[in-house]
Amino acid sequence: MVKVVRSTILEEPVDAVWEVLRDFNGHDTWHPAIATSQIERGESSDRVGCVRRFKLNDGAELREQLLTLSDAETAYSYCLLDTPVPLFNYVSHVRLLPVTDGDHTFWQWESRFDTPRGREKELAELVGESIYGDGFTAIRNHFQERAVA
């Protein structure tokens, strides 16, 4: 089993970051890899158990299910149901914590999954950099653009 952990500090209050991240269907508005996203069966995106079906920019389609969502802990977790990328048993956790000394946000994004033998490193890199790392950068830019606007 592969474990990937990425974390960063955002210079925004935790409530502002959570407002963006808590929408399980909102990743197409900020993550550069996501083209479109919708919640299946017309369910609400904060209903635990809901499934988001989304397309990457290259047209690949994925389905992910919301496993937990907590406003008290500013955290959620989800698993991959269908994916063209060979990530198996993929479960991911996102959590935010306030940096009280500065009113900033600590953001941790981690996952565990299996891969075909020999592809552990390559896929860990893909998840850590192209999904989590690029996601951090995108949110940072999202807030900068909002500040300018």
């Binding site: 500090i9 914590l97 306030p98 009280t100 000394d101 600590f106």
Partner: protein, 145 residues
């Protein structure tokens, strides 16, 4: 139940900061409010259940018991056994988490305790400011930011 939560970013890898705070008997080495400390019954300071008996710069004496410690998850939990503060059932945790996109770490120090409603806001702000933030400020000075 009263709660205190203070967190900060320290400009050094979590492992380096952990090296500085791990010793349950080491408060006087890094926390400016602590004058001296000893472990009762000559136990090792990483033996779960050991008791640190320490004095603040102002002369107050406090006894605290180590409840949990992890070199893997980089945290330490302890309870107050005796102190001059008007509180009971005090349990605190100091935890470090790496920040993977730089050579720095996220530090959290939190506590829960019972007290009379009249004392709560003074205790929460005193512990949060003097003990927890005071400790983080000292670490930040030591590690340059």
């Amino acid at each position: 139940m009263a709660r205190v939560f203070v967190s900060s970013v320290i400009n050094a890898p979590a492992a380096k900061v952990w090296e500085r705070v791990r010793d349950f008997n080491g408060l006087p080495n890094w926390h400016p409010r602590i004058r001296d400390s000893r472990i009762e019954d000559a136990l090792p300071s990483d033996k779960i259940g050991c008791i640190r008996n320490f004095n603040l710069q102002n002369g107050d004496n406090i006894r605290e018991q180590l409840l949990g410690m992890s070199d893997y998850d980089l945290f330490c939990s302890y309870a107050i056994l005796e102190s001059p503060m008007p509180l009971t059932d005090y349990v605190a945790t100091l935890r470090l988490t790496p920040i993977t996109d730089g050579e720095r770490c996220f530090a959290e120090w939190s506590a829960e305790f019972e007290c009379s409603p009249d004392d709560e806001s003074d205790l929460v702000s005193g512990i949060g400011t003097n003990v927890f933030q005071g400790g983080f400020d000292a670490l930040k000075r030591h590690f340059g930011g």
